[in-house]
Each structure stands twice: as structure tokens, then as C-alpha cells.
């Protein structure tokens, strides 16, 4: 019993018939074919699958595609505009906020929401807000620096 869903991802409209049990992350990766959103744990702990959905950072490995019907989604592929990196992407590059790159899309989108809510976060706030995103490579040091860089840049400093 497939169901029709419509979503907008990175400004592009998609419409597909999907099984009700299809996970949103599988829809994005397998059906739409945007593989920048990663799966790390299947259980919402690692945050590699973080996307923006209707303005909220969500872990799409524990959400069904049918629940996203009508939603506006932003994935890592949609963050740079006209070939111009978003300041958070730039921060991760400048401050060496990634090594293997696997957690990075989720980290960047978690930071995206963080900076929307709190444009000038303290180090402690940044660390607290990254509680739902795991990185095994960086020890978080340079991820914190990357987000600090982005915050400054976005504030025009």
C-alpha cells in the first residue's frame, strides 16, 4: 500500500510513491539520490543524518518518509549557494573541522540550527548543542573552532 508524498528538497520539488515504512533517510539517499546525508547509527545517537526539515534540525534516520509529506527540506547539498560556500562550510574547511568527513554533513546542519537560534554562542553552548552529533576523528576541538569561525563570519565580524 504505497503512498504518494511530495517534498521540496534544496528548493527542488519531488513526488514519489513510497512504502509507509520507508525511512526518510533512505528516501533522500536511495529514492532522490542525494547521498550527502549519511547513516551512522540508525538510532538517532550519532547525528550523521541530520537535515533541516521545516526549519528544524532532525535526524532523518528515525523519521518516516511519509511523515515528511509536504515538508521543506535542506540537506548538505543545498547549503552552498551559487557555488559560494556557506560560512559554516567555510569554517569547517578553514579550521580543519573534519577528517574522514562522514559526520561532517550532520555536524554542519546541527551548527546551522545552532547559529540560527544563538548567533553568538559561547564555547560551552556550542559543545552542549553538539551533544547529539558524534565525531570519532577530531576530538571536537576544531569543530568548535569551525563553528566559532562561522558565527563571527555570519555576524559580519
Amino acid at each position: 500500500m504505497k503512498r504518494q508524498i511530495k517534498v521540496t528538497i534544496n528548493g527542488v520539488g519531488y513526488s514519489h510513491e513510497v512504502e509507509p515504512r520507508l525511512l526518510l533517510v533512505h528516501y533522500i539517499r536511495e529514492v532522490v539520490g542525494l547521498t550527502g546525508t549519511h547513516i551512522g547509527c540508525d538510532t538517532s545517537q550519532c547525528g550523521a543524518c541530520t537535515i533541516m526539515l521545516n526549519g528544524m534540525a532532525v535526524k532523518c534516520c528515525t523519521m518516516l518518509a511519509v511523515q515528511a509529506d509536504g515538508a521543506e527540506i535542506l540537506t548538505i547539498e543545498g547549503l552552498a549557494k551559487d557555488g559560494q560556500l556557506h560560512p559554516i562550510q567555510e569554517g569547517f574547511w578553514e579550521k580543519h573541522g573534519l577528517q574522514c568527513g562522514y559526520c561532517t554533513p550532520g555536524m554542519i546542519l546541527a551548527a546551522y540550527q545552532m547559529l540560527q537560534r544563538s548567533p553568538n554562542p559561547s564555547e560551552a553552548e556550542i559543545r552542549h548543542n553538539l551533544d547529539g552529533n558524534l565525531c570519532r576523528c577530531t576530538g571536537y576541538h576544531n569543530i568548535v573552532k569551525s563553528i566559532q569561525y562561522a558565527a563571527q563570519k555570519m555576524a559580519g565580524r
Binding site: T75, I76, Q99, G101, I108, A124, N133
Partner: protein, 783 residues
Amino acid sequence: MTTATRLFGSAIKRREDPRFITGRGTYVDDVKLPGMTYAVFVRSPHAHARIKSVNTAKTKSAPGVVAVFTGQDVQTGPLPCGWLLPGIKVPPRPVLAQGKVRYVGEPVAIVIAESVYAAKDAGELVDVQYEPLPAVTDGQKAHSKSASQLFDDVPENQSFDWNIGDKAKTDEAFKSAAKVVKQRLVNQRLIPNAIEPRACLASYMPATGDLTLWVTSQNPHLHRLLMAAFVLGMPEHKMRVIAPDVGGGFGSKIFVYNEEVAVSWASKALGRPVKWTAERRESFLADAHGRDHITEAEMAFDQGGKIVGLRVSTHANLGAYLSTFAPLVPSYLYGTLLSGVYTIPTIFCRVWGVLTNTAPVDALRGAGRPEATYLIERLVDLGARALSMDPAELRKKNFIPADKFPYQTPVAFVYDSGNYGPALDKALEMVGYRKMREEQEKARKSGQCLGIGISTYIEACGPAPSAVAGSLGAQAGLWESACVRVHPTGMVTVFTGSHSHGQGHETTFAQLVADDLGIPMEQVEIVHGDTGAIPFGMGTYGSRSAAVGGSAIYVSLQKIKEKGRKIAAHLLEAAEGDIVFEGGKFSVKGSPDRAKAWGEVVLMAYLAHNLPQGMEPGLEVTSFYDPVNFTFPFGAHIAVVEVDPETGNVKILRYVAVDDVGKVINPMIVDGMVHGGIAHGVGQALWEWGVYDDNGQLLTATLMDYALPKADQLPMYETARTVTPSPVNPIGVKGAGETGTIASTAAMANAVMDALAPLGVTHIDMPLTPSRIWQAVKAAGKK
């Protein structure tokens, strides 16, 4: 050079990052092929059981199912063990269980379907009847006749009994020692948890007989060699292994696993591509785990605090089968490191490798070296307390003096170079040691538990040379290859046998090449991770990429330049010996105007219109570089913590790391690896713990139960370096990927024990969780 600053040594932003920060990396699970099928594995729910029957009838008729295979079908060679010790027993490790299962999560059947959802549904329908047997999970308890036996021909579950050092001399040293400290140490089981789960995609072409395997591998050529020659029995040249972007390895992606073999076999059987991607729970159950030692350790001191001997016996839990490099880790990567950075006249270490009903154990970031470092550094701290000496002073008293290198330890290694005092002094200065001790005194008076923990460590990187490794049991060489191809336009492609899964080789190796040739980095491309492109390679582990892989590139570059000089000499009508190559230009010594640019010489190599007589056209060199020795990075880490005795919570106040990794190609990248390594080691000290119950069920099989370090638990790390170039390779580098992990576990444990010292706590086994600390504090209070 066109710029004043050398590329070698510069903090250059990574070239691989643009694809990762825009979501355009290509990891194995991102690869899709036409006609692709999906595999799931049916795994044993029992730690130890006889398989009475496997019924797949219902599965086969389930919707979307393409095939189901069991151990009866998949008749391949067993998974090989790549390091053999004298007298070792290597019981066969089948790809899918044969007759018996020996750990929870062991693959029993593979179900292949048109979608992963269909495969999962169908997997539920496989009916396996088991006859459960008693399980044993503890490495020490398993080492007995009365314990449940995993294999009929491995009595007492003992795979090997290995030792190193001089027993008689060591026993003698202990008899005459002024002070002996003794401690039982449990180095707990860890589960690697790279954030990218393991994955593989096999595609067999019936028309040509070629098999291509995309796999999350740190060493694609080793994967191909072991799988082709020992397991699948297919011609090596008909198999291509591609390890594209790989999301972290930490050792866990070195090994040849059941799943990639089963998927390759199935693709051949079906003539269709087959993909498998692990779920996190499968990563917990079926990735090779790390550590798991139970050790009795004793250190003997003379009256003045000089170490006079070290005696160690260890039960190393190997899990149910021997993983690819399992025997190496608790032997030659452990016993040989037990001299640490100290002059220890005599050492004896005995290790029993024991099989248990748990997931196989193999190399995990540091691999043997963190176990050795934790042991030595804990004993030195216990010694300092027993001798009422400052732990920094006791360390300095026992450091191998700087003028004693190369230094022969009593446990086989010859250290290449070292200067341990300055690294510790620098760390002490950074942390403000004297002042910190005063603060600690004050804090103690007000009932606060402040602790300062020091770890002065040594690491051994880039196991070598191959002949020695072979004599010690390696079933492979430990060199590295590099093919440098200079294209007619002067662009350079380097094909390296090293593999980057976060290390940033595309940047650092390009820096090395551009620096040496005096050309812009943009003209250099680094290719790794594909057996179809690269001559051969041993891959990346043991922090060997810069020291061995980088040196291989360097050696090829020298040969490229040598040929270039010959061509330039011919074109300039000068003697070859008079040609100097600098800043991308070949010129005649003393007359810089008589010169040929890099591009001109390269083009001539390909035009071949005017080459020295007898010279072959083209400009490409492949080198196989076999180092003469390991390299030995070292350093000093200091952790400052506050422990709340009421809750047992540990707060990290400062973390100072001074590392000496020899020359540094890119300091930004080295710092990053040190940070990550520290976090990994802190994770072991405080939180991470792979726990099996007595029935062999893994109690920590999700990220809810297994605590990985998080951002809000860790501090900013204060890092610095001393630089003692390695004399064993031409670029003077040592290795940086594991130092942080090796050092930090001991620094953290020592800091917590130092914090708890006034309460009478001398030792707590890791992880130092709040409940363990709280219990230890209560127990000490009752004494």
C-alpha cells in the same frame, strides 16, 4: 621555490575538504550499480551453540528474495590470519558458520533481495535451530581445562603462549629490589565505532570473470591478496578492490571480514552486484573489537627510585576466532613497548592469547601500544607514590638519556632517536606544574579532589623492515609502494599504496611532492584506494603512511629528478653532476641562466626527440620502499581533572600534549590527529566499555549503552611539539595518528588516581565511570 615558506611544514587547508563539506564525498554505501541487490546477514543470537538445522524454504519464497546462502553453500577457504607466532593454534574461521557458532553476531546465512527492506523481512524467516552450549567470555577464566572449550583441538582455549625478555635476570632483579609495586590491571574491551559503518559492494562480470569490490578498507591491496589467494581462490589479477572515501577506520577496517567475502562469493554465484552495509548494531557485534587484557604487572625500584626490573603476565582475550592481525597486537606491538621511555635493565613479559565466545579482537587505534603505555605509566605513578617521589621527577630520573640513541631495549626494539626530557619539561611548563601542585594542595585542604596525571609515552610506527617482520611471524611485507607519473605537460599523478580515511594524504602527500619538485600543489594529484590504479600497497595502519608511504613517494621523486637531470644535462650540454634542480628549474651550477624549466625537460622526456643516447622515453617511476626500522615518536601528556567524590564524576580541567612526531609535513593535520587521538584515549579512560554478560550477550550493543566521547565532555586541548627527526627515513617523519590515544588513557587514569589519593584510593580499573569511582571512594573510606 617560488614562495619563501616551504610547502613541507605548512598548515595548508585540505584539498579533500570541498567534497566533504558539500556532501559530495563517495563512500561505499553511496555507490550504486544497475541491477544491484542487497544483502543482510542472519546472525547467531547465541554465544556458543551447535547448529542443528538451518531451514531457508520460507525465506526463498518471500517477496523480492533473490537468494539465500548458508555455510553449506558458501564453501570457501577460511578467513586467514596474517601473523603467526611460534606454536600458535589458528582454528579455521568460516565465512558463514559451519556446524557451530562461537559468538553472538557470527554470520550464519546471507539473504539477498531486490531491496534492503525485502532482505530484512526475508531474513526474519530463516529458521535456525540451535543447541546452546556453555559460553565463556573472560580471557582469564577461559584459559582453563574446566572452561567451555571453543574448539576440540585448542585445549584450554589457548591459541598461543608467547614471551619476551629475560625471565631469570628479571626474577633476580626483583629479589634485590628496594621497592616493588604490583598491580592487577584490566585493560577493558573497546568497540571501535568509526562513524561510517562497514560496507561492501561486489560486482562480478560473468562475461569477463572480473570481480570488483568496493569495500570500507584501510588497505585495499591486502584485502585483494588475502581474499583472492586464501579465501575465494580466484586469480588476483581478476579482482579489483576499491576503497573510496572511507569514514574512519581506527584499525577496524584493516581486516578481512566474513561479510565482504560472502558478498563477493554471492555476486559471483548470482552474476549480479550485491551490496551490504552494516547497521550500527552489527558494527558493535561484528567489527573486530580492541584491547581486552587482564594483566599482573610488577615494577621494581632501587633505593633512589631507579627502575631495576619489570615483570608482566597478560591474558589477551582474542575473541572466538583469530582476526587478521590478532596475534600481533598483544605480542610484538605490546611486549616490545614495555620499556617505554625508560632505562629498564631487565624485563620479562608473558602473554597468553585466549579464545572466548566474544567478537574477535584485533588492532584498534594504538594496538598494543596503549596497553603497554597504560601499564608502564600506571606502575611508574604507583612507584612514585610508594617512594614518596614526585611523578615528574621519578620519570626524569629514569628517562633514557638523549645521548644513548639508537637505544637497544631489553625487549627487542632499537629506538631510532629520542630526547624525552625536553618534551616533559615543555608540558610541565605549559601546565604550570609547580603552581598547579600548590593549587592542588589548597584544593585538598578544602576537600576538593584535584588531580594531575602525567603520561610520558613512546610509540612505534611503521613496523619494519619486512625481513624482521617476517622473522617474527608476519605473513606479509611491510614496505610501501609509490608510483610517480609525470605527464607530458608537467602535471604529476602519484599512486600511493597508503590509504586515507581521514588522514588527509591528498593534501600532505601533494605538499611533499610539490615541495620536492618546486611546482605548485595544483599540478599534483594523489590517487589512493584502488588496486586497479596502484601497483601495490600495504595500506594505512600503525601510523605508517607518512613514514613509509611518504618515504616511498620521496624515493620515487629522487629517481624522477635524476632522470630529469640527465635530460637537462644533455640539452644544456653540461655534465650531469653540474646540474642543480631548484625551484622547478634545472640549471648549470654557477650559471643560473643556462637552465631548462621542469616543463621543458618533462616534455622532452615524452617527445624523445633529443634524449641522451640509450635513454628510454617517458618519466614515470615506481618505488618499493622498505624502511630499515620502525620510527619511535614520543611525548608527554598532562591531564588536570577534578573528581567529585560525592557523585564520582570526572571533569577535565586542562589537557596538555607535547608530542614529538619527528618532522611535520602539515602541522594543522598533525594537531587534528592528536586531538582525535586524545579524545579516543580519554574515552577509554572514562567511558568506553564493551561488556559481555556471562552468557556471552553483548550488553553494550548500541550507542545508548556504549558511551562514545561527546563534545561537551571534552576540553580544548593545549598542544605543542618538540622535533627530533627520525634518522631511519629520508624525510625525517615519525607518525602521528595514534600518539594521542597511546598517551591520553594513562594521563587520565593517573590524574583521577592522583585526585583520589587523599581518600586512600590507589587504583580503579577503567573505565573510570562515576559508579566505579563512587564505589572505590566508599570502599576506601571503610578501610
